[in-house]
């Protein structure tokens, strides 16, 4: 899908994505020549179709995880189906009670992967305490929609 600024006959650049709610996916494109911006709003069905491809509009910050699509999308996976690699050097990283509670709300099937991603994010940035705010930041920085 490409967005063309008709006046400038120029391809608009992807600039931002959002999940504003209701399963809507919003992608913002802007024209580098005239500055015009448009937001493409995908309904939940279209959002799911894109998610089903295993791609992220705008590209990935975080590399695709092994079996990421299955783990994110399967509704009734076995809680202990996967075991994540042992953390490299995460001894100092702690989770606040709020963050722990939020993690507990993630389906068990995918929880191990999500926990590792947040832990890696914190470790790479020298963050010793994972809080809901850190999780929000990681979601935004890494494009973890749906995690």
């Amino acid at each position: 899908m490409k967005f063309l600024c008709i006046g400038c006959d120029t391809v608009m650049d992807f600039t931002e994505r959002q999940l504003p709610g209701d399963g809507t996916f919003a992608a913002v494109f802007s024209c580098a020549r005239c500055g015009r911006e448009v937001a493409m709003l995908a309904n939940p069905m279209e959002t799911q179709l894109v998610a089903s491809l295993g791609v992220r509009i705008g590209g990935r910050t975080l590399a695709e995880q092994p079996m990421e699509l299955v783990r994110q999308q399967l509704a009734e996976g076995r809680d202990d189906a996967f075991v994540e690699p042992a953390p490299a050097s995460r001894g100092a990283i702690r989770w606040s009670d709020d963050a722990r509670q939020r993690l507990a709300n993630v389906p068990g099937f995918v929880r191990g992967m999500v926990k590792r991603i947040y832990s890696d994010y914190a470790a790479e940035r020298g963050i010793s305490l994972i809080t809901p705010e850190v999780m929000d930041r990681a979601r935004a920085d890494l494009g973890l929609e749906g995690m």
């Binding site: 490409k2 295993g54 399967l74 009734e76």
Partner: protein, 298 residues
């Protein structure tokens, strides 16, 4: 208004980076296949003809003679291969190189949806609950791609792929495995099976798959009391199909309740000592496959 340029005429990048990600997925798939000597799809188009039991027996027979064998259960909605091969239900280890397959009987490396689902749970995908017809097949193809590309199969001599029923699903599988070493089409002598499998042959030929073969399952029943073999079906569909299409009939496998009984307990019948006609026929099929793949002398 001036004529718009077409999508392909607009060459500037958009920053959405979707084609690049799809390309990366396919490259990952190709890298994984580069370590696999032969990929053999066991298919039919028809359901209930014994594809999974034959897949399990082929995989076990090949592994038992020391070959490095993987078994991918492409039947996402009716997975049975893990159980038939007694694959370990221990959690699958994730590493940067992928997900380690479960290990089954004779060392077969197995991946199946059965290993991932909660007990008795069907395959259901997360929301939205409506309009699944729009995205469900895309998601299932993606899941299958991950089964093939994201599993750390290691170097394999053979990967056996147990295909789901339905010619549409066979077509989807071919989009991920475009160059299988062979496709073994399982049929029965019934006319109904002949009709369905004939469609699969047309599909596979149109896709340019070079090596097709038939295996006629349930080709007769040997009476345990008198030892006489009688046909289970009035028709002779498998032989007629072979004659009409020119696809070679590699095996005619007798119906034997012991085949199902053995896969039910995760010990395919080919692992039992010689003597059972069904096991002997399955071993002969394995030998024929290896001969055709030029892995052994005829």
């Amino acid at each position: 208004m001036a004529r718009f340029r077409t999508y392909n005429e607009v060459l500037e990048p958009t920053g959405a980076k979707v084609p690049e990600q799809v390309r990366a997925q396919l490259e990952r798939l190709a890298r994984r296949f580069s370590a696999i000597r032969h990929t053999v799809i066991v298919a039919s188009g028809k359901g209930g003809v014994g594809k999974s039991a034959i897949s399990a027996n082929l995989a076990a027979a090949l592994a038992a003679e020391g070959r490095r064998v993987g078994a991918a259960d492409a039947d996402l909605n009716g997975p049975s291969l893990a159980r038939m091969l007694a694959a370990s239900t221990a959690p699958l280890a994730v590493s940067p190189n992928g997900v380690a397959p479960a290990v089954g009987v004779a060392g077969v490396r197995v991946v199946s949806m059965d290993l991932l689902l909660a007990a008795d749970a069907p395959v259901r995908w997360r929301d939205p609950g409506h309009a699944g017809f729009v995205w469900q097949s895309t998601l299932e193809t993606g899941a299958l791609r991950e089964f093939l590309a994201d599993v750390d199969w290691g170097a394999l001599d053979l990967l056996i792929v147990d295909a789901p029923p339905g010619t549409d699903k066979l077509q989807r599988l071919l989009s991920l495995v475009p160059r299988p070493s062979a496709v073994l089409l399982v049929t029965t002598p019934s006319e109904t099976a002949r009709h369905v499998v004939a469609r699969s042959i047309s599909l596979l030929r149109a896709a340019g798959v070079p090596r097709l073969a038939l295996a006629a399952n349930m080709a007769g029943y040997r009476c345990p009391a008198c030892g006489r073999t009688e046909p289970l079906f009035a028709a002779d569909g498998a032989r007629r199909l072979a004659a009409a299409t020119g696809v070679p009939l590699w095996a005619e496998l007798p119906f034997d309740p012991a085949i199902a009984a053995s896969t039910d307990v995760g010990r395919p019948i080919v692992l039992e000592p010689a003597g059972s006609p069904a096991a002997d026929a399955l071993r002969a099929l394995t030998r024929r496959l290896l001969t055709e793949l030029r892995e052994v002398d005829p």
